[in-house]
Symmetry: C2
Subunit: 325 residues, 2 copies
Amino acid sequence: MASNIEKPYVVGMDIGGTNTVFGIVDSRGNVLASDSVKTQEYTEIDDYVEAVCKKLLPLVQKFGGVENIKGMGVGAPNGNYYNGTIEYAPNLPWKGIIPLAAKFEESLGIPTALTNDANAAAIGEMTYGAARGLRDFIMITLGTGVGSGIVINGQLVYGHDGFAGELGHVIAERDGRVCGCGRKGCLEAYCSATGVARTAREFLVARSEPSLLRNIPAESIQSKDVYDAAVKGDKLAKDIFDYTGMILGRAFADFIAFSSPEAIILFGGLAKSGDYIMEPIKKALDENVLPIFKGKTKLLMSQLKDADAAVLGASALGWEAKALD
Amino acid sequence: MASNIEKPYVVGMDIGGTNTVFGIVDSRGNVLASDSVKTQEYTEIDDYVEAVCKKLLPLVQKFGGVENIKGMGVGAPNGNYYNGTIEYAPNLPWKGIIPLAAKFEESLGIPTALTNDANAAAIGEMTYGAARGLRDFIMITLGTGVGSGIVINGQLVYGHDGFAGELGHVIAERDGRVCGCGRKGCLEAYCSATGVARTAREFLVARSEPSLLRNIPAESIQSKDVYDAAVKGDKLAKDIFDYTGMILGRAFADFIAFSSPEAIILFGGLAKSGDYIMEPIKKALDENVLPIFKGKTKLLMSQLKDADAAVLGASALGWEAKALD
């Protein structure tokens, strides 16, 4: 721990398809300063690294320079923890296998660890949030996609190749909706923000009852619109949440049969719909879980502050980054 | 390791609904002596423990007495590793929560660890079989039921309550066949020995083509009969394996999305049907697995010798049993 006292800060970085956000974080989980670049503006990875460093280094200098930074943690789609690489990420501009951790280490001189964004969220939750003290839990991120970070025996599950925890791509409905991964019926195709919007469009076509959602052009409906309508008492909007929650609860019953976690923690936009989504999840979980597990697994909401969550989650990995030679 | 040299043997015990088998095992995985009792003959747990000890102690004496035994490992249905208990096992004569490890420790003076039978098989495979050197694998036991033992980062996954790894009870077909657990559509209802026999009966009713299986009274058909018919070229019998393998392969694709294991290892009667079951599993796995995992996870057969496997698997846990105070 002596080195933590010597080096009181870490860098957290979250790479999304649109924005890359990064910041300086202290050991209590305060994001002290942050900045961002537009991910899509850099088709060449080296230009991207240069652009990030150009904005990140002034922040680092402000907090005493590289010698005050214990490490950097990066959360990225298709991030491989073992290799520090991003591999074949469909939503990022760089194709193939990108040795990103090594590139940052070279440019910044800061030890860098990288994992996928949902794993970073799980580590953040374990370090600063709802999972403090939990040794067995599953983090489910409900955003544009559905991601997961699995912790067993207090350790992130990376699997033999670094890519474990793709719970957004278990099959929720055999031969169901086409998913972005090219297969059919994935959990993500139903329970992501876009999945909820798809359900809304399906329900609006299949039913004739009035709904506030009919005031919005079908192709423009977003999951936030469904929430707003539900809050106003819209029956069809509530049914969309019931359907989404049912599919999640059924899937969670299977996840529990796998690792029997103490808690499943929900993170992301949809999770913020509160009881509209939590009640049907609980109901379906209770109806579908194996009797031996009944009532044992808690359903929790993330405790990470929204604006900082991605940076904070990634930063927690920075404390574990291996010192450079 | 010094204490292993001082105490060169362990006891392995497998508690089944019909028989309880136990034996003395050396550090190389040789079962040096074994014996058994009929589980169902003892409705009182203390009578059962006494009966086991009466037959086990002479074996222990033969190998130099209790001071030569490092520990005892017990595999049992609904075995809870954390508590050393058997909890609400539907197929055993003792109801409620049975503190079996403590009872044996008291009677024998041998440190005792207990887990469920599939976990014991996984530990056995890791210690003596096909999983030597693997840090991430899933053991699937295809017997009267379908069980599983999951190893992640070189550790058995017990979950927060000691009951993780119930992969026989993930849902293979939503609202499908009634399962012994009281729910519908579990993997076990399709891919256990009894599940295969059910498939045979369903196929025989649904189709009119000739089959060797029609020579057997429908209610008497066993999975072994299906294998025998397939070997003789029976089309319907082969289709039963194709169907069973397809359901397993689909389920394995979901398991891989969870923990990305280096291997899935099959154990038990059905696993011995060789290519009849392995080929359709491989085909369905390949068709259903997320592209990022494609071709990465090996499908292996157990390497534990049949007669000894249960005792051997349980015995491996004996090396880890905590010394008594």
